[in-house]
Amino acid sequence: MTDMTRSPETEAGARALAAPTRDLTALTVALRLLNFGPLLILALLVVAVGLSTPNFLKAGNIGNILAQTAVIAIVAMGQQLVILTRGIDLSVGANLALATVAGGLVFRGVDSAPLVILAMAAAGIAVGAVNGLVYVFGRLPHPFIITLATLSICRGMALEFSINNTTMRGMPAAITWLGESSPLGLPNSFFVVAAVAAILLVLTRYMVWGRWIYAVGGNPKAAVEMGIPVRWVLVSVYVIAGLCAGIGAVVLSGRTAASSPLYGNLLELDTIAAVIIGGASFLGGRGHLGNALVGALMIGVIRNALNLLNVGIFYQMIAIGLIIVVAVESDVLRNHLEARARANQARGQ
């Protein structure tokens, strides 16, 4: 703290600052703890489950968790950007299903991994673009309704266009390779997650566009006043979320060597849950990719652990619901502590 306090002019001023500063430090520690809370909970979870079932920490099982989490993690990162702008994308699961069907249909015509991947990515981007454009230029008050509409449209299209309205077997070898494990024991899909994370990290932390995403989420009105192209920033996050759904489609088709209109059912809820239990704020502007990744892992670990412990699948849903409540309440607590910190600042002046 000391190096951050900028040159108190007088000793009296320094003394006056001292008391609130100490209080502020306690608050700062509490706020830091809250920010690292999800990571701590994940670590505790891993230790606790590791102690109760020895199988959990075996390399094979860790690889399983990572492989099972890959799709949620990729799509949740896209959801994270949408939530940063105070939005929500309910269509990602259905979008993913439609993308796998598009890829599956291409595969029936030609066994080409690049073309199949292209089809899946293009389908994802197209749906994302519809979401963003209708939301922004259709002047909708909130993206909830349009993404609910595209959820329905995409699922319907996926079912209608898939052969016999059901799962289609087969994927090019280069895509099924994603379902295999690398020599290190890590699933190949893990590297897709890492690559998506790296690219989005560069976008959100180091590029002007990423700064604008945060600005739009933090204060949309001020963002307009500052000349930020708010509408295009909003469209872009839905396009990115759609692309992430398309990439998720590639990974899931790879793991199952199939495409299906039934894939991604309730994935929208898993990804929203991941972002929130990972510690991002639902109010927008607050959060980072780490939230989506930690949240996705938490969901993966809980599901895996409860499986290993022979706890029924319904309890998994209950457990994840409870964690969502805890996460949302800690966001409320964080806002409360920040208000306290502000009040302390005002007294210290």
Binding site: M4, N219, M226, P229, R342, Q349
Partner: protein, 253 residues
């Protein structure tokens, strides 16, 4: 005052209506470089509406606004900003989730390489931090932490950040809407110093305030609005302070 022959800002017979409400009824005023113009009036007198017309939030219904003698029509605040008019509103337009440096440069980030479209460039984060730190130091604004989001800062600190941001980017006109209303004595002093500095750097400063002490201390001219009309304009000093107050409340006779 080194009065240029043409005022930097000239508001000519401006009218603004909101439905049945006639908020501005033919207001004219000039602002000159290197001068602080106080804009006074009771609540609802039309000060904020006038400011919003100048800064591009509202379009005027009648009359015109001239910048350096040429008529301008701003369709958005960012166009006015680009033309050199910085406005610090009471709500400050800060981004709570960003740090002071990120707030300073939001929407006009320093970035590279310049051949890419603006949004696709990379942030020159260090240069922005350095510049902001030096401005904050020069203006002797005290912040608890430089790397924390402004959500954690007090009203005074936030005000100082907003005014400091305007000092960095203003090229012609700075409009300050009640910049000291929420501040304690010491913080108010600092903001007044900032205003002097803005003026000395050759800006026209338009100051909305209810604090007569500040008007007498700082303003070169005061324009008084009442019920959407200009009811007086004078050079404020200790002797005519009462006259000014009665103009504002409409009790001069």
């Amino acid at each position: 005052m080194t009065a240029a022959p043409v005022p930097v800002l000239s508001v000519c017979d401006v009218h603004k209506r909101f439905g049945a409400v006639h908020a501005l009824r033919g207001v004219s005023l000039d602002a000159w470089r290197g001068e602080v113009l106080a804009l006074l009036g009771d609540n609802g007198a039309g000060k904020s509406t006038l400011v919003r017309c100048i800064s591009g939030v509202h379009a005027v219904d009648e009359g015109e606004i001239r910048l350096d003698g040429t008529k301008v029509t701003f369709t958005s605040p960012s166009l006015a900003r680009r033309a050199g008019i910085e406005t610090v509103y009471q709500d400050l337009a800060l981004f709570d989730n960003l740090t002071p440096a990120q707030n300073f440069y939001c929407g006009r980030e320093l970035s590279f390489p310049s051949w890419l479209p603006r949004g696709l460039r990379f942030l020159s984060a260090r240069a922005m931090d350095r510049e902001t730190a030096s401005v904050i130091d020069r203006l002797r604004v005290k912040l608890p932490r430089f790397d924390a989001p402004v959500a954690l800062m007090s009203g005074g600190q936030r005000q100082a950040i907003a005014v400091a941001r305007a000092t960095v980017f203003a090229r012609k006109i700075v409009i300050l809407d009640e910049p000291t209303a929420a501040l304690g004595l010491r913080e108010s002093r600092k903001v007044l110093d900032l205003i002097r500095q803005l003026r000395d750097e050759g800006n026209a400063v338009i100051l909305i305030t209810h604090n007569m002490e500040h008007v007498v201390e700082l303003a070169d001219r005061a324009v008084v609005l009442r019920q959407g009309r200009k009811v007086g304009e004078l050079k404020p000093d200790r002797s005519n302070q009462h006259e000014l107050v009665s103009m504002i409340v409409g009790a001069e006779g």
